[in-house]
């Protein structure tokens, strides 16, 4: 039996319908809205005070103002990008609504696009207060990074989406028993992506692995910008190339896992 991939003829109306569905959910639930703002704000406050403390006690950090808080914000873009995607997906599993969607004319690619756009909306709700806090409480303006910030953001969000697509496929295939992967996958990436330290700190063999991850290039690029005041476009181009492969691989894996879910009947039993 051949696989089911419906890609042609995307419908903006169907994508809009899915965004509307998540928007209705978000505005109907203040705990969901609060959760979007709460953790990013907590992160920036904790790391902001830590940065204030070490700036006063270490010359290096005094010169490289904002390096910690910048890393925290960029990390959160990566983390929230993946989580924003995956939580919208999980909402369908929790609501036992996946069968309704899979039986509707909604195509898998439209579903994924809606989840990506929704992750941007969720990210904006969480990160905007974080940026305001960083600017006014800790004197760090993320936008002072200038144009490279666009490259940082695009690379991080695409990595977040790629992982989000892949883990959503795992949940679709294996049920909510695989839900914990959604929450933990990004933390597995954290030590290798070298968020708070340069890649050179890692042993040589781990550096090879680290350079396979697009976020590593972003955080190295951010440090080059904040410490040496140098823009390194080659890092961003390499990250984009890896992201392209990662995104294509994740999409292919999602379709494979969706078809596998159809083969083993897990779309009917969306529980554990």
């Amino acid at each position: 039996m051949s696989n089911v991939v419906r890609v042609h003829g995307l419908s903006a109306q169907r994508i809009g319908a899915m965004i509307l569905r998540y928007w209705y959910l978000l505005i109907s639930s203040w705990p969901r809205l609060l959760e979007l703002v709460y953790w990013p704000a907590l992160q920036v406050i904790t790391w902001g005070f830590l940065q204030l403390y070490i700036v006063q006690n270490a010359g290096f950090f005094a010169q490289a103002g904002g390096i910690l808080i910048g890393a925290v914000i960029l990390w959160d873009i990566l983390f929230r990008g993946q989580l924003g995607f995956s939580i919208s997906f999980l909402e369908e599993m929790w609501a036992r609504n996946m069968g309704n969607l899979m039986m509707s004319p909604l195509k898998p690619i439209e579903f994924l696009i809606a989840l990506m756009l929704m992750s941007l909306i969720r990210l904006a709700i969480g990160v905007v207060p974080m940026l305001v806090l960083a600017t006014y409480a800790f004197d760090f303006n993320l936008f002072s990074m200038g144009l490279p910030l666009v490259a940082f953001f695009c690379n991080l969000i695409f990595t977040g989406w790629s992982l989000g697509i892949f883990v959503s496929g795992l949940v679709l295939r294996n049920g909510l028993g695989a839900e914990s992967i959604v929450w933990s996958v990004m933390f597995g990436l954290m030590p290798l992506a070298c968020v708070y330290y340069p890649v050179s700190v890692l042993p040589q063999w781990l550096q090879w692995i680290a350079w396979m991850l697009p976020p590593t290039y972003v955080f190295e690029g951010m440090r080059a910008l904040l410490i040496e005041h140098v823009v390194r476009p080659e890092l961003m181009i390499t990250a984009a190339a890896i992201n392209l492969a990662l995104f294509a691989g994740s999409f292919a894996a999602f379709i494979w896992l969706l078809n596998s879910a159809r083969r083993n009947g897990s779309l009917l039993q969306a529980g554990e």
Partner: protein, 264 residues
């Protein structure tokens, strides 16, 4: 006399316009736990109401799920409205709909929000008017702005039916449409289904344990047991063949393996 009397063994190769609503041929589904559907073949003509009967584990839900494309067959073929499933599902999914106890509608969204989202997914023209029409037909106007999670079982069933009818489907697939409803509400739902078929000439395939429901609604009954078709005919003909007065008695005969003796 043979016990397995299924109609047209092979799906027709005629164009979509001339084809039956559903054509299933040699359908098999194997799960790790064993074979759920074992060589099922039947067709459902347009405008008919067909009941799929059988005990737990008979293969009804899996068969319906394969017709919908939610489950991929291990082998065999399914055509819906003349299109091969799941390969040509994009041609079909906007023209069919379903209701099942295995799926829910989002609980936090209001009834109106849910119907709006699904109406847009099905590209329903003049959606507000369609929701108002369904609210009237299915008597859900009083709780259109209430979250789905705060409705009673009967109200939820009516809302699920509204979702299933939002796109005026040519083919409606229903899995236990009146399960957990009181007799009055169940009767009311059945009447709405008959009205819908009469007004739109729609085809309905329903799986049910409720024999009275099947007797009242269905032109034809397919009885399944252990993944195979045990019998396939009109309710009256099946009852006559088994020398029984109700489908419930036939069901018990089949379930307890007395089918052969009863029919002979």
């Amino acid at each position: 006399m043979t016990m397995i009397r299924t109609s047209s063994a092979e799906p027709s190769s005629a164009g979509p316009g001339a084809s039956p609503a559903i054509e299933v041929a040699d359908l098999v589904k194997d799960f790790k736990a064993g074979r759920a559907v074992d060589g099922v073949t039947f067709t459902v003509e347009r405008g008919s109401i067909t009941g799929l009967l059988g005990g737990n584990g008979a293969g009804k839900t899996t068969t319906i799920a394969m017709i919908m494309g939610l489950v991929l067959p291990s082998s065999g073929r399914v055509r819906v409205l003349g299109y091969q499933m799941p390969e040509q599902s994009a041609e079909v999914l906007g023209r069919i709909n379903f209701e099942s106890p295995y799926v829910d509608m989002p609980m936090r969204l209001t009834v109106r929000q849910n119907l709006t989202v699904f109406g847009k997914l099905y590209s329903v023209p003049d959606l507000k008017a369609r929701i108002a029409e369904l609210a009237d037909d299915l008597d859900i106007a009083g709780f259109l702005d209430r979250p789905n999670g705060k409705l009673s079982a009967g109200q939820k069933t009516r809302v699920a039916l509204a979702k299933a009818l939002i796109n005026r489907p040519e083919l409606l697939l229903l899995d236990e449409p009146t399960a957990s409803l009181d007799p009055d509400t169940a009767d009311w739902v059945r009447q709405r289904l008959l009205d819908y078929r009469r007004r739109h000439g729609a085809t309905i395939l329903l799986a049910s344990h409720n024999m009275l429901e099947v007797e009242r609604l269905c032109d034809r009954v397919i009885i399944m047991k252990r993944g195979r078709i045990e019998d396939d005919d009109t309710p009256a003909a099946i009852m006559a063949r088994y020398n029984r007065n109700t489908l419930e008695e036939v069901f018990i005969d089949v379930a307890r393996g007395r089918a052969q003796e009863a029919a002979s």
